[in-house]
C-alpha cells in the first residue's frame, strides 16, 4: 500500500480534529456544566472558565451522602437509590442473559437445531420489535396477569417477607423489569455468541468427550473459556440496553424500583429546570458506559461488526 505511507495532508488531520471535537464535545460540555451553578449556566458568562462546585452532585446524591449539605432544605432527588436499582437490574439481567443465551447458542450450533439462516432471520425479526410496541402488553400482563394472589401460600409468604400491599405482581418489582430486559436482549446475544461458538474447533470438544466429560462439562470447561471475547461483547451490549432503557422501566417500576433514566426524565419537571443538577445526574448515568467504552472498545467493535459483517 503505497498511498498510505505518504505524508498525510494537513486537512486530513484537521478533519480528524473536527470529528473528535464533534463526538466528544457535547459530553465534555455536559461534564463542565455539571460543575457549574445554575446562575453561571444561565448567564453564560463563562465558557470553560468558572469556579467549579460540587453542589449539583451533592443535591443529586443527597440520599446517600453521610452529611447533610447545608444548601439543601430537603432531599428531593433520591438518586442513590435509583442508582442501586439500576445496578441491580442491569447486572442481574446481563448475567442471566449471558448464561441463558450462551447455552442456547451452543445448542443451536452444536446440535444443529435450526439452520443458521433461520436463527439470523428470527433474530432480526425479534430485534425489529420496538420497545414501544411491547409497552401495552407488558404493562397489562405484568400488572394484571403475572400475579400471585396474596392469599396463596407463596404470595402470602412474599407479602410477609417484603411487605407491600395487594396481590403480588411482577410490575413494580426488580424481577419484572429484569425479565423483559432478558427477553429483549436474548436474540441479539444468541446471534453474537453463535458466530463465536462456530469458530471453536470441534476436535477439542471431542477430545474432551473421549476423556469422559459430559456435555455440561464440555460446555463449561472447553467452550466457555474460548469464547470470552464474544461474551465480553455480548455483556457490554446487554448491560448498555438494561442500563439505559427508559420506557418499559417507567411503565413497570414503582417508587421503590425506579431506575436512573426515569429519575432524570422526571427531574426535567416543568416547574424548575435546574440545568446543573440535570447535567450532574446525566453525567452519573453516563459514567459506567463511558468507562466500559474506554476499557473495552475493541470488544464493542467486535460485537458490533460480528453481526453485520460476518453474518
Amino acid at each position: 500500500m503505497s498511498t498510505v505511507r505518504q505524508k498525510q495532508n494537513p486537512a486530513f488531520y484537521a478533519l480528524i480534529a473536527v470529528l473528535v471535537f464533534m463526538s466528544i464535545g457535547p459530553v465534555v460540555l455536559m461534564f463542565a456544566n455539571s460543575f457549574k451553578l445554575d446562575v453561571d449556566i444561565i448567564s453564560g458568562t463563562s465558557g470553560m472558565i468558572f469556579l467549579p462546585t460540587i453542589r449539583n452532585y451533592e443535591q443529586a446524591l443527597c440520599d446517600v451522602l453521610w452529611y447533610e449539605p447545608d444548601h439543601l432544605d430537603f432531599c428531593s432527588l433520591k438518586f442513590g437509590g435509583a442508582f442501586i436499582n439500576s445496578l441491580i437490574i442491569a447486572l442481574i439481567s446481563t448475567v442471566l442473559t449471558l448464561v441463558i443465551g450462551c447455552m442456547a447458542a451452543y445448542a443451536l450450533v452444536r446440535f444443529r437445531f435450526m439452520g443458521r439462516d433461520t436463527v439470523s432471520l428470527s433474530t432480526l425479526m425479534v430485534r425489529m420489535v420496538p420497545p414501544a410496541v411491547l409497552l401495552v402488553p407488558v404493562f397489562g400482563l405484568w400488572n394484571n396477569e403475572f400475579c400471585i394472589g396474596k392469599t396463596t401460600l407463596v404470595g402470602g409468604w412474599i407479602r410477609d417477607m417484603f411487605g407491600g400491599r395487594g396481590d403480588v405482581c411482577l410490575a413494580g418489582t426488580h424481577s419484572g423489569i429484569i425479565l423483559i430486559y432478558v427477553a429483549m436482549n436474548l436474540p441479539f446475544v444468541i446471534w453474537i455468541l453463535q458466530s463465536f461458538i462456530v469458530q471453536v474447533p470441534r476436535s477439542l470438544e471431542e477430545a474432551a468427550r473421549v476423556d469422559g466429560a459430559g456435555p455440561f462439562q464440555v460446555f463449561f470447561k472447553i467452550v466457555l473459556p474460548l469464547i470470552k471475547p464474544g461474551l465480553a461483547a455480548a455483556a457490554i451490549f446487554t448491560f448498555r440496553i438494561a442500563w439505559n432503557e427508559y420506557l418499559l422501566a417507567s411503565a413497570l417500576s414503582d417508587r421503590d424500583t425506579k431506575t436512573v433514566p426515569i429519575l432524570i426524565v422526571n427531574n426535567m419537571s416543568e416547574f424548575n429546570v435546574e440545568w446543573g443538577v440535570i447535567m450532574a445526574t446525566g453525567m452519573l448515568l453516563a459514567i459506567p458506559p463511558i468507562i466500559f467504552t474506554l476499557l473495552a472498545s475493541r470488544q464493542i467493535i467486535t460485537g458490533m461488526t460480528a453481526g453485520a459483517v460476518k453474518g
Binding site: G166, N266, V273
Partner: protein, 446 residues
C-alpha cells in the same frame, strides 16, 4: 376496616391500632394512637409542595407519624395515580391530585368522602375553622357532584381539600413599563398592545412569556384567555362552543402573545416561560401565583425588586384561572385515619401559614391577611384580591376532559407553529369534542 384485615400483617397492625386507641382514648392527644405509623403520600414536584417538604419534619416531631413522600412531576403523578387507585389495595395513604383529576377519581369512586372524618370527634379538630378556607378553591377543587357534576351545588359533597391551589396573576417589569411610559395593563387590549410594543422599544426583550408547548401547556395557555374574553368550552347543554367568536379571539390573543414573545416561546413549558421572565428576556408573565415567589429569590432570578404584580386583565369579564392541587384520601389506602390527621394538620391555620412562609400558596383567607406573610411576600395582598374573581368554571372538569384537553393542546400548538386557520382549527376541535361527549353519553337526555 374490611381492607385492613385482608392480610395477616396488616390485620395485626389494625388490631394494634384499635387496642391503642382504646387505651389512649382521652389521653395522649389525638395523634397518640397513630404514632409510629408511616404514611406514604404522593405529591407533585411543584413549588408549593417543595415548601411542604420543608415543614413535614415538623409534623413528624409533633405527632410521631412518619411521612414518606413520593414526589413526581404532576402529569406523571396523574398517570401513576390512575394505576394505583385502581388496585384493590393501594400504596398511597394520601394523594395530591391535579384539579382536573377530581372528575376521574370521584367518578370511578376512588376517593374517600370526607364527611365521616369531619364527623368523627376523635379525628376532627374543633379549631379547624373550615369557613376560613378560600371558598372558590373548596368548591372548585374539593367538592364534586353539584351543578354539571363538577361545580358546587346542592347535591355536591366534599372529597378533597384545596392545598397548593392557585389562580393567575400578571407579573410585569415595573422598570421597563415606566421607562417607556406603558401603563399597567388592566384589560386585554392594553395587554396585547403592551405585549407587542415591548419588543419594538426594548430590542431583544420579548413581550410576554407564556406556556405554549404542545399538549397540556398550549391548551392551558389558550383557556387562560378564553374565560376572561367571555368564552367557554361547552355551553350548559354540553354543546361545544369553543369555536365561537370568543374562542377565536382567545386563540388570536395567544398567537399574538407568542409571536411577540421571547425567543423560542413556541416550545415553552411553564418553567421555561418563568425562567425567561426571571432572566429578563420578557417583560410580562401571566401564569399561576405558584411561580411568583421565585422571582423574588436572588439565587434564581435577575429581576428581584423590579416586578410589579397585577390582577389578570379584564376581557369582557374578570376570570382568572382556578387550578392547582387538592389533597384527598384514596379509597384503597391503608392508614386512612392517620392520613386524615396529616391532611387536617397541613391545611390548618398553623400549617397553612407555615407552608406559605416557605413560599407555598395559601388556602386560607386568614393566611393572606397575615402581616408577617405580607411583609415577606409583598404581593400577597394582590393575590388575595385576585382570588375574588377566580373563575371556577374556566375549564370543564369532566371524565372526558383528558382527551379533549390533549386535542385542544395539539391543535393550538399547530395554530402557533404552522399558521393553521384559527376558525377552522377550532371547528375541528369542536367537532371532535362533540363526538367524544356523545360517546360518553352527555347527550342522552336530549
Amino acid at each position: 376496616m374490611y381492607t385492613f384485615i385482608k392480610s395477616t400483617t396488616l390485620g395485626l397492625t389494625a388490631a394494634a391500632l384499635m387496642a391503642s386507641t382504646a387505651i389512649a382514648d382521652g389521653h395522649g392527644g389525638p395523634y397518640a394512637p397513630y404514632a409510629d405509623t408511616t404514611l406514604i403520600v404522593n405529591f407533585p414536584a411543584h413549588p408549593h409542595y417543595n415548601a411542604v417538604m420543608k415543614i413535614l419534619p415538623e409534623f413528624t416531631k409533633e405527632t410521631g407519624i412518619e411521612v414518606e413522600v413520593d414526589q413526581l412531576p404532576y402529569l406523571k403523578m396523574r398517570e401513576r395515580q390512575t394505576l394505583e387507585l385502581a388496585q384493590d389495595e393501594g400504596e398511597y395513604d394520601l394523594i395530591s391530585y391535579v384539579v382536573f383529576s377530581k372528575a376521574d377519581y370521584v367518578f370511578a369512586d376512588q376517593l374517600e368522602n370526607l364527611a365521616k372524618y369531619f364527623m368523627n370527634p376523635k379525628l376532627s379538630d374543633p379549631s379547624y375553622d373550615a369557613e376560613d378556607l378560600i371558598d372558590g378553591y373548596v368548591q372548585n377543587i374539593g367538592v364534586a357532584g353539584g351543578k354539571k357534576g363538577y361545580l358546587p351545588g346542592a347535591t355536591g359533597s366534599l372529597f378533597g381539600i384545596p392545598f397548593g391551589s392557585e389562580t393567575s396573576v400578571l407579573a410585569y417589569r415595573k422598570d421597563i413599563f415606566e421607562k417607556h411610559g406603558i401603563a399597567e395593563p388592566t384589560n386585554y387590549d392594553q395587554l396585547l398592545d403592551a405585549a407587542c410594543k415591548i419588543p419594538e422599544v426594548e430590542p431583544g426583550m420579548g413581550g410576554m412569556a407564556s406556556r405554549a408547548a404542545s399538549g397540556h401547556q398550549a391548551s392551558h395557555a389558550f383557556l387562560l384567555h378564553l374565560a376572561p374574553l367571555g368564552g367557554r368550552v361547552f355551553d350548559d347543554n354540553w354543546e361545544p362552543i369553543i369555536n365561537n367568536e370568543a374562542g377565536v379571539q382567545a386563540a388570536n390573543a395567544l398567537k399574538t402573545i407568542v409571536d411577540c414573545g421571547p425567543e423560542g416561546a413556541m416550545s415553552f413549558g411553564p418553567a421555561e416561560a418563568a425562567n425567561a421572565f426571571a432572566n429578563g428576556d420578557a417583560a410580562m408573565f401571566m401564569d399561576s401565583i405558584a411561580f411568583m415567589p421565585g422571582f423574588e429569590n436572588p439565587e434564581r432570578s435577575k429581576v428581584v425588586g423590579k416586578v410589579g404584580y397585577a390582577m389578570h386583565p379584564e376581557g369582557v369579564r374578570r376570570g382568572s384561572q382556578t387550578g392547582g392541587f387538592g389533597i384527598a384520601i384514596p379509597k384503597n389506602a391503608e392508614n386512612k385515619e392517620a392520613a386524615f390527621l396529616l391532611m387536617q394538620w397541613l391545611t390548618s391555620k398553623k400549617g397553612d401559614l407555615m407552608v406559605a412562609m416557605e413560599g407555598g400558596n395559601p388556602s386560607r383567607f386568614s393566611t393572606y391577611e397575615n402581616a408577617e406573610l405580607n411583609a415577606k411576600y409583598p404581593f400577597s395582598a394582590t393575590f388575595g384580591e385576585a382570588l375574588k374573581f377566580a373563575d371556577p368554571d374556566w375549564r370543564p372538569i369532566i371524565p372526558t376532559w383528558g382527551k379533549i384537553n390533549a386535542d385542544i393542546g395539539t391543535t393550538m400548538s399547530k395554530v402557533l407553529t404552522e399558521d393553521l386557520d384559527i376558525q377552522e382549527a377550532l371547528n375541528g376541535v369542536a367537532e371532535r369534542a362533540r363526538a367524544v361527549m356523545d360517546e360518553a353519553g352527555y347527550y342522552t337526555w336530549q
